[in-house]
Symmetry: C2
Subunit: 238 residues, 2 copies
């Protein structure tokens, strides 16, 4: 049996609690949108050219300079909160609020910099269900037939007509990485996560760029499904 | 480029929106806590004795008769909203609100019936992060060292001292099922989900009961990670 307490709960108390919670959420600081795991694989002759890093991409947004100015005012620039693993990429200090078709909101969604030539919102399926958006599974920048949403900033709102996606799980690779794993841009690999919630992700898409460092991106649902933080071993394989 | 709209957003408008959203959430109907998938495996001689059914268990609570009366008033009984897949189990009409240590709430958490001899709250890791609860991974009823939370009902509050868990992914099996798959109570199997977000769940715990029908339970994070609704094939294996 569990210890317990009991008392009648008044409507006013519930309302006060709700107000407090919401205020805290709307004011609240959000952590940067990634949790990082490095495989404990020492670099050995014949071994992988780069350590395996798996990051959870929490919900975030990429933004055009034009949308940034609508949301944050004329002349607004993204300011860096924290560097991300890929050189030049950063979590900005700028946060927006998303509004979906069910009139539900997700506050404190962080913008990742630098600005891009498209605006894109990357959410987990959990977020999609909550907002009422049937998220398509896409690689960044492929927005044909994708839904939009309303984005609120401190200076204005953007009614985005498309660009809201679940990002397809993927691995950033340079030429060295692709050679080592024997794959080409667009191929798929498997990612094994051992641990109490161990699983094997299939269909991890290879994304080539000459200047990236090896990094797998999964989303929050995927990171939570395998409890990435408790992983005892990770392996990327064909 | 995306189409867009822009206008200044007044503080009063945001507050009104937030109020509306919260009211809707607190009033809102929640769907029953499962999404069901049957493998399209016709029963053939030598084949499995039961079709493979995979269900997503959304967040829910089991409750003792004593806690039910504190939350819903003296003499309160669970009333059935919907039968679940296992005979005798049902989603009740009774909903509670959970309050975690970060003063955040999750409203509309459904109680599953019938009542049990322990109170237990089953959440996804996403829920745990939101509430600020570091969820232990447990099989139902194993509450040693688990955290608690505050539970609000229309008639009172329970300060649960333990029993908040992430349920370990598991498969309910009768003797026939265990014989077919060649496993015993407590063994682990693998569950393969094919589809756009395909993956292989390891460590699916076998849970024996003489009167159950074959059913895998995964949680919302796991269901969303593999996008169970878009699954094209499912397989349970050693």
């Amino acid at each position: 049996m569990v210890a317990e307490g009991s008392r009648a709960l008044k409507r006013g108390e519930v309302e006060a609690l709700v107000r407090e919670v919401l205020t805290a959420r709307l004011r609240g600081e959000q952590p940067p949108p990634s949790r990082e795991r490095h495989a404990a694989a020492p670099r050995t002759p014949g071994g992988p050219p780069n350590p395996l890093v798996v990051n959870v991409s929490a919900r975030h947004m990429h933004v055009t300079p034009e949308h940034l100015q609508i949301l944050f005012g004329t002349g607004a620039k993204l300011t860096k909160m924290k560097d991300l693993y890929q050189e030049g990429e950063f979590a900005s200090e700028q946060l927006v609020t998303l509004v979906g078709p069910r009139q539900r909101i997700i506050p404190n969604v962080r913008i990742l910099g630098p600005t891009r030539n498209y605006t894109q919102v990357e959410l987990s399926y959990t977020d999609g269900v909550y907002l009422g958006i049937d998220l398509p599974l896409r690689i960044s920048g492929n927005h044909d037939g994708t839904p939009g949403c309303t984005i609120l900033g401190p200076k204005g709102a953007v009614n985005l007509s498309k660009g809201v996606i679940r990002a397809e799980r993927h691995v950033h690779m340079s030429n060295d990485d692709m050679t080592y794993y024997g794959v080409r841009d667009g191929d798929q690999l498997k990612l094994r996560i051992d641990g109490p919630c161990g699983l094997l992700f299939e269909r991890v898409r290879v994304r080539f760029h000459p200047k990236v460092v090896l990094e797998v991106h999964i989303d929050t649902d995927e990171g939570n499904a395998c409890d990435l933080e408790s992983a005892t071993h990770m392996e990327l394989m064909k």
